[in-house]
């Protein structure tokens, strides 16, 4: 989960956890956008991490990401962030980054960092 969705009006797809009855969806092939049937990140071994200090905001990673997993933040501090629910860890973003601003870090290590950050916010159980 990224920090950039909150309060920004961004529509970041989220895993839908409440149960659906066929009557909730089968009346057309039209459903409110922004829900994932399942996340798509389980096979990622490396995770791209963007260095906000050196990122120039050129959007090359955003354009090249084959899964559309790099999104604009619409904020001033950094141009883009990685939607880790979608990212498969292929590393194309790191390859195309002309500024060396993306590093691929070990997913296990990154998860520990996530957990520590969540704990600091009091969300330890859910992380």
């Amino acid at each position: 989960m990224s920090d950039y969705s909150e309060g920004k009006g961004l529509r970041i797809p989220r895993l839908r956890t409440d149960a659906l009855e066929p009557g909730d969806y089968a009346d057309s092939t039209c459903f409110p956008a922004g829900w994932l049937a399942e996340t798509n990140a389980g096979w990622r071994l490396k995770r791209p991490v963007i260095d906000a200090e050196t990122c120039a905001g050129c959007l090359q990673c955003y354009l090249y990401c084959p899964d559309g997993a790099i999104r604009k933040t619409h904020t001033d501090d950094v141009a883009v962030f990685v939607d880790v629910d979608f990212c498969k860890g292929c590393g194309i973003c790191k390859t195309v980054c002309a500024f060396g601003s993306i590093s691929m870090v070990d997913e296990g290590e990154a998860k520990k960092t996530d957990a520590a950050r969540a704990a600091a916010r009091g969300e330890g159980e859910r992380a």
Binding site: R11, P22, Y25, A26, D27, S28, T29, C30, F31, P32, A33, G34, W35
Partner: protein, 398 residues
Amino acid sequence: MSEKKFLSGDEAFAEGVRLARPQVISAYPITPQTVVVERLSEMVERGDLDADYLHVESEHSALSAAIGAAAAGARAFTATSSQGLLYMAECLTYAAGGRFPIVMMNANRSTCLPWNIYGDQRDSLSLLDHGWIQVYAENAQEALDLALMAYRLGEDARVRTPVMVCLDGFALTHTYETVDVPSPAEADAFLPPYETSNRFDFEHPVSIGYTAGPAYNRYYKQREHLDMLAAAQVVDEVEGEFARTIGRAYPGVVDAWHCEDAEEIVVTLGSIAGEVRDVASRLRAAGRKVGVLRIRYLRPLPGPEIVAAVSGARAVAVLEKDVSFGAEGTVFTNVNSALHRAGCPVPTRNFIGGLGGDDITEGQVMQIFDALHQVAGSDAARVPDVTFLNIADQGGER
């Protein structure tokens, strides 16, 4: 105030579409549908109809564009015929499965080979299973009125299904007759603007036209089926509202003529029904108890209505302009299924005529009634299950 005009079926249908105020029309011309789209493009050009008219490069694109328009929440219209309809076939299921209530006029025309531009019903009848409501007009007035009623029916929240209105090629599309054209105010009173949540735009982002795998697919297909079945009831409501606002009454999914006491009944569909009734009324005048059942809506299949109309008869013929090669006429199969499900034992026979525009004469219709008389009597075995009209040699035993 409505206006009396002398119009062909194609022209009358175009008037009906104009009154329905579609926002997008996408079409590719094909005989005998061409006049409809010519008239509509002229209406758009003159400003009589505020619509985007897309002259696309093929029928496949025509329906694809209509689907896109419907997915954006627009009321959409297209029209085609014969090979054009077959070329659209892939898109038919997209429109039906996506629950986009597009209205299409199909000018019923033969399918090749041999190449033939004349009327029969093999084109639409071969595509009964693609999720479209199918209704067959008898005359130009009904064609015009169906253009309006099709939108009201298809867009009903309980139905949300595309509607194919079929007009017999030439016999209906190119024949001129007197038609009462409602005023725009009358049409507007009957048909409100299209409103739906089944649409996308920047303010209401949705996922539309998506995948549904084995775990979910059956629910969609069952809903399509049940909603189409429910459309039969909605037809009655729509026609009631049409009679109230426009002042013309229609009889529901079937049109039964003197079936209540008839011993021999011809079941048919489309513009030939008028001629069959003409012959039947002469036979009635001569004391024969005959009836005519015109199927108006073939999807949803009006099973209970067919059974109710013919269950008292001693013999039933199905007269249709198509054949499912290696089986029998498609309408015959459908009628037999309805009768079998209801446990109705009336003997039935199939008469296939009018193929490739061949004229079905009053004499042939008389022969059908005479054959039914044999079936009802002691000579049933002498009348084959399937008879091709106007051919001396009926082929082998099987």
